[in-house]
Amino acid sequence: MKLELGKIKINDIKFADKTEVKDHVLYVNKEEVEKLVLEDDKLIGCHLEIAHPGESTRITPVKDVIEPRVKVSGGEIFPGVIGKVTPPVGTGRTHALDGMTVVTVGRIVGFQEGVIDMSGVAADYCPFSKTVNLCVVIEPAEGLETHVYEKAGRMAGLKVAAYLGETARNLEPDTLETYETKPIFEQAAEYPDLPKVGYIHMLQSQGLLHDTYYYGVDAKNFVPTFMYPTEIMDGAIVSGNCVAPCDKVTTYHHFHNPVIEDCYKHHGKDINFMGVILTNENVFLADKERHSDMVAKLAEYMGLDGVLITEEGYGNPDTDLMMNCKKVEQKGIKVVLITDEFPGKDGKSQSLADTCDEATALASCGQGNMTLQFPAMDKVIGTQDYIESQIGGWAGCVNPDGSFEAEIQIIIASTIANGFNKLAARGY
């Protein structure tokens, strides 16, 4: 399966009468987008705002972050959710608006939605402090049940991203990247002397605000399966969750999965990248046992020599991480884990909720309990009303001027446990 990914660099977003891209600027017809969002009668309000890197702007509570993309070779983006699932996903040509995102913002569903600061000290920890963000601020209908509200917010973001992606359909991309993974026997034969490497991708699937969708299927309802890595670049996986904001894998991050990108960079040089094993993080022990057994079985079946495993969330999913690690290693396959740490504010407690002897190699994505002083901002997109109860905040952490102290786990994707960032933790 081969995918061409064309990227159109976007330097700015402006409101205009017509939605289009001209000279690396995305022009957006505000009314059209708001109308699109309000097609859903669960939402009674919608307005758009633009946030630029370096501005004194805070965005919160953030639900999801999405990059606009379009299938230009037939097929549709976000298959099974927005688009159709055929023709095949992850093949042909896809265009992306690079350097910008759609950010969905609105009253919290749980405590798990986070903060994006466009400048100041917290901006160093957030990937979306460096992109131009079109913020879709939504207002739910009165008394909306939380599960319904979560879905309405999720769909609003995906719809807007797909709508904006259309602007890239007939553009000439600034860069064109090609990714290819062959059917398993051909792929193994292509680089017979290189170690065969797979990626075990654990999707968050613990329940409300902790769900992920694969072709529209709720990840807690599937058993582990194989996936061509390029499928993810067409939106085969969308985020339906806000776990702790710091390790939320946004839909943007699924498009830009760093393990897949880096494995392709090394593909044919020092590894033979064989593909992805997709699994979940269900809360029932029977599921954990069955699915970790299956993950190990699939890794063996693919003839892998080594795997990277990433998780989403912390605490409960650490058990899935360790069960996967142990069982895959017991098949004689080398494992490296990538995850973040939660050792308490003083950094002195254990970083993980579970361990195993086989977990000898781990790449840290930083620890989420360190605290920062968040400065007051000139502008808040959304509301700061919930900071004290959002994950990472605490009662009394907000000052009257709007500045506050909080753990970095309140920042969207600050310690994302798939290795997207350079943040890491070490022993002192």
């Binding site: 749980g110 080594g306 740490e341 933790a425």
Partner: protein, 349 residues
């Protein structure tokens, strides 16, 4: 006059008072430098002055822990030092434990930066490296010449407030404190490079050696359940409406105790949950799902067990540091034991 004041702690041996036969020596305060303090003062230079030295016998300290600590704290306090230094203790076990104990106490009670120095196998190193910066030394005083300059460098940093770097750079025992930094490469790339080495059988270094967990053995079964008092403790974040004690929705720093006396059920009008790690909807509608008061009252009335304890204890389990959880557990356990509770139903979520 020197800019910075230091108080130094030594045992009877290094103070030149005597060996094992003098190990019962009571705390004594001397103005100025004693024994290895001379070399330390020389290494620190003219901006620093060791204003006093506290001497205590190792056995006396070990056998009169609280009293010795209190006495020494009082001695240190009046000098208002900028840094408190103990040792180096090398591989002297009782001395090492004393250095760690007194350093930890001085830092906690007086808020003064502290430093000691010990050999890696000194029991004091394992006991106190999390709490106190302990400079690495060899296993005997022959290593004094190496230990002193390292200590002096760190004392200067502590006195001036200069940033203390990692253990490998500064020469102290790793404390097991996890500190963030921005690496040169992102996590996925570092992980892949580690995997390539691991597959080749080459040496690699993990970012996180697996922690050792504190496993608690289950208690013996209750002998007489018909007369037993049972309590409910939960990490499910169930609290009275309004969360009066402001328990956090993640990484809790406190727990609450709330009365259920005279109640037959957990009413959703009275209780909610503030847990940030699970789907709260069902528990907000029916808090009995986490604090099963309704069923427990039925069983209590049917005589299935003796009595339900009058309150429940609660905190948020998600993201809560194991250090905090251990403190909560000790405090809750102590209270329940004092109140004669025989068994606890621990509800996780």
């Amino acid at each position: 006059m020197a800019k910075y004041k230091i108080v130094h702690y030594l045992n009877q041996f290094f103070a030149g008072i005597g060996g094992e036969e003098m190990a019962d020596y009571k705390p004594e305060l001397r103005e100025g430098v004693v024994g290895p303090g001379g070399a330390l003062a020389a290494a620190l230079g003219p901006d620093y002055e060791i204003v006093a030295t506290v001497i205590c016998g190792d056995n006396y300290f070990g056998e009169n822990l609280d009293e010795a600590t209190d006495t020494i704290i009082e001695m240190v306090k009046k000098y208002e030092p900028d840094v408190f230094v103990a040792g180096p203790a090398f591989n002297a076990g009782r001395y090492g434990v004393a250095c760690g104990t007194i350093c930890k106490a001085v830092e906690e009670r007086l808020g003064i930066p502290v430093l000691t120095a010990e050999y890696e196998e000194n029991p004091g190193t394992d006991m106190f490296k999390k709490d106190v910066i302990i400079v690495k030394t060899g296993n005997s005083s022959a290593d004094m010449k190496n230990a002193i300059p390292t200590m002096a460098k760190l004392i200067k940093k502590m006195a001036t407030g200069e940033e203390i770097l990692g253990p490998a750079v500064e020469g102290y025992h790793e404390r097991g404190i996890r500190v963030n930094y921005f690496a040169e490469k992102r996590g996925s790339e570092r992980g892949l490079e580690m995997l390539i080495k691991k597959m080749k059988g080459e040496p690699f270094e993990t970012d996180l050696p697996m922690p050792k967990f504190d496993r608690v053995a289950p208690a013996d079964p209750i002998k007489d359940i018909k007369h037993a008092t049972i309590a409910v403790v939960t990490s499910g974040g169930v609290v009275p409406q309004g969360n009066p004690d402001h328990i956090e929705s993640s990484n809790a720093t406190k727990f609450g105790e709330y009365s259920i006396a005279g109640k037959d059920s957990m009413s959703p009008d009275e209780f909610t949950t503030i847990h940030g790690g699970y789907d709260r909807q069902f528990v907000m509608a029916n808090p009995n799902l986490v604090v099963p008061l309704d069923v427990l009252r039925e069983l209590e009335k049917a005589g299935e067990f003796g009595k339900l304890y009058d309150s429940f204890f609660t905190t948020t389990g998600t993201g809560t540091a194991t250090g905090s959880a251990a403190k909560f557990g000790d405090a809750i356990g102590k209270k329940l034991k004092e109140d004669g509770v025989d068994g606890v139903i621990l509800v996780s979520t």
